[in-house]
Each structure stands twice: as structure tokens, then as C-alpha cells.
Symmetry: C2
Subunit: 329 residues, 2 copies
């Protein structure tokens, strides 16, 4: 048993559960990844979460339960009340996740949204270590993010801060899932790239992309676009560059508003490569105020798919120490 | 002499100097407003600042000097080094304002940019009192702002945070003074409204606006646009509504990113009236995430032209108490 006890962390996604145990300094003891039984309903998922913690504890030969559990869940949610308001991938609405897990496990549970905890993970153990002010942006199916200001997670008045994906980047742009138009998420996400590619194909173009998707328009994904681009296809390259530019425009606004020391970029879309990154940097150079641009290191995330679970461990460790990692109570 | 001593505050503008004395709770003892001798050069201005403090002290019959002086100056500047990098209205470049005023007055001087101190003033004594997280936006010739997060001024990594005016609102919009395109400032400021009106007049339209400007295209200002709009002119009304919509688009991004409890709107453009305000609220309703929109009270600034000097007094009082009002050292 680690001196001072240990904590548990869970990154709960729509398809997989990533769970780990660590000591209070964030040294991981062991970890596991299991599918999320989303279709079996809420009860099945929370029992699976509790079982994952028990299994890790047993495998590590730890005699007692963890001091606390940190959980990152898809939002919107209320960290203080411990309630997930809405998680479409899981089919959840207004579920008291914190209270239910505390009942099942008998230990204090700390809850936050997955992007906030990925930000915290990168700040404590990854690419943002030591930065006073860090912005985390993740570009994958959607665009999410989290803010670590003054070394602590900034949550805003009602826990809704950090919705980087819903900065307006082009007011006449495509409709966003949030109801607005031209949000960063509607222009730079993997979903947005796939939508543009499908539009191209529907218009009788985008032949290389369609081929990369196996010839089926319905199978066009951002990965297919990336494959076609890697093979030199100009249409695919243009889609990726447009997404990168949208990210640069949104990020310029973030630099001008928050003047962070570090911006950490995570998520699958970062694998779109130098084309995406260069388009982003070009817009940043045009649009960010020089002092704030020079002040910010823009770096890829360092923890890959472990950023969320490591953030959950940091949250649990902070809670166990009586020092929750938030910018205020 | 107030118990515990008193402090001085100065809001230094391109045309006027606003100075005041107050006790450590921000109760103003006396104040004065004098023109800025900008054309006489830097030395003349700092002597005038020092003289204003001396004059106030004498008029109030205070036996000793203030505990500290807070100064709000046009940025960009470095609050820690006490240097104003650039103040075009004053013709300044890289001037050591803090050190020079400390030499002239013999008391500690705290420096920050005018928009940050207006934000602090509204937070301590005005429309944002008691808010954990407050965003201040001022719309006048330009668009500026300041962030009070966790009850303290948030400055960012290098003192550049809060540049609300340089959020990109329309990437294909008009060129901004900062070099980018379609910034909030380039679309919602008084300068932007006047530019649109002049463009209209140059195209042979905008007759009512031209009349409101006395018939001289070069004299068209946002005030002339506001007068024509108040008289019912549709072209003027459209210009004001477009500016209000731009503010709403930018503000939606700010709500989604920072989830503030209060947004305080100051500056002359707020006098453009309900048309401006309603256009802004319409975009906010379309574009801000519902929870963050419901969490934020959007209110007009309460301190008028005194917000900056009251913020300077709060800065000086914090400094005198050894508790500078910043979110971190």
C-alpha cells in the first residue's frame, strides 16, 4: 500500500472506460481499459465502473479501498451536485453519478467533465507541466477544451467554462450541434471534415477521398480524408487546411483573451499532420496580438488517451488532500 | 487623515487626466479632472500627474502623502516592470512610467492598463460587485475589456489578457488596427460604425446620416449615426444593429469560454440605445450555450467615466495592504 494511501481515477467515454489507481503524487499503480456497456443502461455502467475499481484494487493486492475516486464523464454536468445533465452517447439525462458511485464504493467521488480532466492531466503530468495559465484544446469528433488558470482548473460561474468548441469562428458558417452557426466545432472537428468531404462527393467531386473510404459515400470519415491527403490529393488537403485555419482563427481569439503560457492540442485530428498544424499557425500569425502569440507555446498533448484518466487521478488526489484543484470553491 | 491612511488613483487618458484620493475602503475623498498635456511630451505629462496628486492632497488638507498611487494608462504595457510599451494617443514608446512617478512622488506606484482598471472598478464598486467571475467590455472608439476571475484581475502570462476587442467575429470582415480582419473592434466600435456610414455616403447613400453630420462626409462619426438612427433613419439603424450583432457574436464566444456570472458593458456606444442592445441579445440567444447564457447577467456599467479611476484606487489600496488584486503574483 503506498504511503499515505492511493486514489482511483476513471475516464468514462461512450465506448470505453479507462480506469487507473495511483499514489497521491500521480504515480500510476495499475490501469485497465474495458468497453462501456452503454446499451445496457445507466445501472450497468455504474456497476461496471465500481467493478473496475475493485478489480484494479484486487490485482494490485491493495488491502483497503482508495481514498477517493475521480471521474471524468461526458458533459454537460454539475461537478458540485455530481449530476450529469446530458450524455447523448450514453443515453443519460440528469443522473446522480457522484451519489450513486459513492453508495456503491463507499468512498468520496469527485466528478468533472472529460475535457476539463484531460486539461488537468496534461497540466499536472503532461505537456502543460508548470504553466501558470494553460489552455487545452482537443480536436476529434468534436472540439472540446479546458482552462487551467493560475495553476488550477477554471470552471466558471456554473461549471460551464472551457467550451472552446463553441467559439464562433465564422458567423455564416455551417450549423453547429449547439444550435449556433460557424462554431469552431462545426468547422475544425473530424465530423466537420467528413461533412465537407461528403458534400464534395455528393457534388460529383472528391474522387480520391471516396476511394480512400472504400467507395461508399456513407463511409467517408475524417480518417479517409487524412488518408487521401497523405497520398497527395488536393481536395482532401484543402479540407484539412480549412479545418486547421478555423482552429487558428479560434485560437487567436483565445490567445488575445486569455494570454496563456501554453496551449496544449490533443485529440485524433492532431494526427492530420503538418498540413493541419501549418494552416493553424498561419492564421495565428495573422490574427493573434504579437505579445500574446510570442508568450504562448503551442504544443501537442503528451499523454495521448491517458490524459483524462490522469486528470481524474489528480482530481481524486486533490480531493483526498482537501485541496481540490479548482480556481475557487 | 483617514484612519489607516489614504491612496491616490489616476486614470490617464489621451485627452484627460482623472485623479482622485480615497480611503482604503474606496470612499472617495476628492477628485479632479484636467486636460492631458499630451502635445507637451512625456515629461510634462508625468509632472502634471504628480501635480494632480499634490493638489488633491493639499485641497483635502491631508498632512502626509498617499500610501500608494494606482495608475491606469493606455496599453500595451507591462504592469510588473511598470513600463508603457506604446501609447499612440500620448506619443509614448517604452516609457518607465512607474519608476518615474515613484521618483517624483516618493510613494509606491502600481500600474495597469485602463481597461483592466475599469474592470476592477466596476467589480469593486460598480455593476459587478460580488461576482466571482466578471467580464468587462467597453465599446467606444475601440473595444476593450478586462477579466475579473475568482474575484481578482486576470492578466495572463505576460499581462496581455482581456483583449476582448480582438476576438475574431468574422474572418472575412474589415481589416482591424491590430492587423487581423473582422475583429470585434473592427465591427462593433464607434470607429467601425463611422467607417460603415462613410462607406454608405461615398456610395451616394446615407443621406440622413450625412445631414446629421452637418453635410460634411469627413465629419461623420458614430454619434451622427446614432442621431440619424434616433430620428428613424433605416440605414443608420442597420449600421447600429450590425454593430450590436457583432458584439453579441463575440460575447457568445466569451460566455461559452468563460461562463462568467456577470458581463458589464461600458463605453459610449452603450448610449446607442435599445437597438444596439437588442441586436446583441438576439445573437447571444442564438449562439451562447443555454446554461452559460442563463448564468450570466448582462448589465450596463454603473460608474460611467469614473470606473477607471475607482479601479486605480482599488489597485493602490490592494498594493498598500500588500494584497494586489491579481489572480496571481
Amino acid at each position: 500500500m503506498p504511503v499515505g494511501g492511493y486514489v482511483a481515477g476513471i475516464d468514462l467515454g461512450g465506448t470505453k472506460i479507462y480506469a487507473a489507481l495511483a499514489d497521491l503524487e500521480g504515480r500510476v499503480i495499475n490501469e485497465l481499459k474495458v468497453p462501456t456497456p452503454a446499451r445496457e443502461g445507466y445501472e450497468a455502467v455504474i456497476r461496471r465502473l465500481a467493478a473496475a475499481v475493485g478489480q484494479l484494487q484486487e490485482e494490485a493486492g491493495l488491502p483497503g479501498p482508495p481514498l477517493a475516486l475521480g471521474v471524468g464523464a461526458p458533459g454537460p454536468l454539475d461537478p458540485a451536485a455530481g449530476v450529469v445533465y446530458q450524455a447523448p452517447n450514453l443515453g443519460w439525462r440528469d443522473v446522480p453519478l457522484k451519489a450513486d458511485l459513492e453508495r456503491l464504493l463507499g468512498v468520496p467521488v469527485y466528478l468533472d467533465n472529460d475535457a476539463n480532466l484531460a486539461a488537468l492531466g496534461e497540466h499536472r503530468y503532461g505537456a502543460g507541466r508548470g504553466a501558470a495559465h494553460m489552455v487545452y484544446i482537443t480536436v476529434s469528433t468534436g472540439v472540446g477544451g479546458g482552462l487551467v488558470l493560475g495553476g488550477r482548473l477554471y470552471r466558471g460561474a456554473t461549471g460551464g467554462a472551457g467550451e472552446v468548441g463553441h467559439l464562433v469562428v465564422d458567423p455564416r458558417g455551417p450549423r453547429c450541434g449547439c444550435g449556433s452557426y460557424g462554431c469552431l466545432e462545426a468547422l475544425a472537428s473530424g465530423t466537420a471534415m467528413a461533412r465537407e468531404a461528403r458534400r464534395l462527393v455528393a457534388a460529383g467531386r472528391g474522387r480520391a477521398i471516396l476511394e480512400a473510404a472504400g467507395g461508399d459515400p456513407a463511409s467517408i470519415t475524417s480518417e479517409a480524408v487524412a488518408r487521401a491527403a497523405a497520398a497527395g490529393d488536393e481536395e482532401a488537403r484543402a479540407i484539412i487546411a480549412a479545418a486547421g485555419r478555423a482552429l487558428g482563427i479560434g485560437m487567436a481569439g483565445i490567445l488575445n483573451l486569455l494570454n496563456p503560457a501554453v496551449v496544449v492540442l490533443g485529440g485524433g485530428a492532431m494526427r492530420a499532420g503538418t498540413l493541419f498544424w501549418e494552416a493553424m499557425e498561419e492564421e495565428l500569425a495573422r490574427r493573434a496580438l504579437e505579445a500574446s502569440r510570442r508568450a504562448a507555446r503551442i504544443v501537442p498533448a503528451a499523454l495521448g488517451e491517458r490524459s483524462g484518466v490522469l486528470g481524474a487521478l489528480a482530481l481524486a488526489a486533490g480531493g483526498a488532500r482537501g485541496e481540490p484543484p479548482y480556481s475557487e470553491p
